[in-house]
Amino acid sequence: MFEVGVKIAVSLTQISIVMGVVLLTVMFLTLAERKVIGWMQDRMGPMEVGPYGILQPIADGLKLFFKEDIIPSGANKYLFTLAPIIALVAALVGFAVIPFGPNMRVDVFGVQVQPFVISDINIGILYILAFTSIGAYGIILGGWASNSKYSLLGGLRAAAQLISYELNVGLAIVGVLLLAGSLSLVKITEDQCCWIWNWFWLAVPRGGGVPIPQILAFVVFVISAVAETNRLPFDLPEAESELVAGFFTEYSGMRFAFFFLAEYANMILVSCIAAALFLGGWNAPAPFLQFHGSLEHLAWLSGIMWFAVKVYFFLFLFFWIRATLPRLRYDQLMRFGWKVMLPIALGNIVVTAIAAYFFPR
């Protein structure tokens, strides 16, 4: 009984820390995005609230919190309320299997716990795919329940887009799974140990041998991830020049904030997956860049730092792409997904499978 209590307490602590960090990162991202895009467009971004506008996220949060919560007439009240909750929950539960730091075990009152991953389940990556696909319901139902043409069109676009690009995400990671021989994110990350060329984007085997690079899968994954999170240039479900704000046109106040949080949490989640699958997760580019020698016991700290660096690189990439590329047309989006990305992802699986058969790792 005592052991169960300790396990629950440890899990709850881990969950609250991860949720806290994720929500803080979301706050930071809202500011960072406006600042970065401002600089890229030779503007200054938000400057009014606090020095250099650093208190802007807090002001935005307060504004959303105190805004009137409107349910449009003719809307389906239950689904209108349920939709943002589904979207946010689906975005947040994925963090349960992300390894943020080295796979080590710590003894807490006689119970072995893994401090840097909430739950190391053996189907980790499938679990994330399952719940990101559930997130689509939030968007579709939100669009339908609003009883508005713009919202409905946004929801329909989201449904088609998410299904098309989810497929590419799923197929892009198969190559990595073939090389790692596991679905657990912890094991996949551990497999990429040591040097930068051991990470799965180049995938040189640890003891030397024939590399089976996954760089094509990496590119397909990143592009599809941008499409799956509804970010520019793939933000057709919320294209403001065509659909006002797409599926959340009718939302305001906290419900709107939920959709907003879900979008940013999804961005962080796909960045974490990309870092863990293709860029070695918490592994440093070279062994001597991890704390070692007399600082050996602090190696977990540098591991977490390397993971954060990689995640923030992807988050910056999201902003960068947004500031650079114009929005695709809807038919271009579909054609690109099915006729360009899908064949590349499938070809990568065939080549990787054959190579992995002849040159086992």
Binding site: N76, L79, I121, N122, I123, L126, Y127, L129, A130, F131, S133, I134, A136, Y137, I140, L141, G143, W144, L152, G155, L156, A159, A160, L162, I163, E166, G170, L183
Partner: protein, 169 residues
């Protein structure tokens, strides 16, 4: 504990399955089907088939049901009364199948072991993902290939039906 979990999952599955055909609003039908898929996945997890549970959610809840929802929303049917006239036939069939189930249950007799215990063979040690892959590509290779061929035929058939003009051109 395991029995309690099983009865909860089974109860919700039966209830939501009835709601799928019973509710008048097609969107609500789709949503109760979604809840049902989740509980079926829960049933798989309680049988230590995590891979199957994840695939159940990815394929059925994540892809197929989204397409259902897509179609229902596109047609914009607020109420679908047409199919509720089939109630008498449905009731007849339902009673027949229920009787069959009850008769079978009485014949088999009461068993203490409601929840099948997880497999204790060597499969459970290698992990169920590997086990599924192993058996699909060795023991059940032919059925597996036939199933994929049937799916391919269905896919081509759908394209032919949707694009009739490509044959005449």
């Amino acid at each position: 504990m395991a029995q309690l979990l099983f009865f909860y999952l089974a109860g919700v599955i039966v209830l939501t399955a009835i709601l799928v055909v019973g509710l008048r609003n097609p969107i609500y039908s789709v949503l109760s089907l979604l809840i049902m898929f989740f509980h079926v996945a829960g049933l798989y997890v309680s049988l230590h088939a995590e891979f199957l549970a994840a695939v159940q959610i990815i394929v059925y809840a994540g892809a197929i049901l989204v397409l259902y929802l897509f179609v229902v929303m596109l047609l914009n049917v607020k109420r679908e009364d047409r199919y509720h006239y089939q109630f008498p036939i449905g009731a007849l069939l339902g009673v027949a199948i229920l009787t069959e189930a009850v008769v079978l249950a009485i014949q088999r007799g009461y068993s203490e072991d409601v929840v099948p215990s997880p497999p204790t063979s060597e499969l459970s040690f290698t992990g169920n993902t590997e086990a599924i892959g192993e058996s699909l590509f060795t023991t059940y290779l032919l059925p597996f290939e036939i199933a994929s061929l049937i799916l391919l035929v269905a896919m081509i058939g759908a394209i032919i039906l949707a694009k009739k003009d490509i044959l005449t051109r």
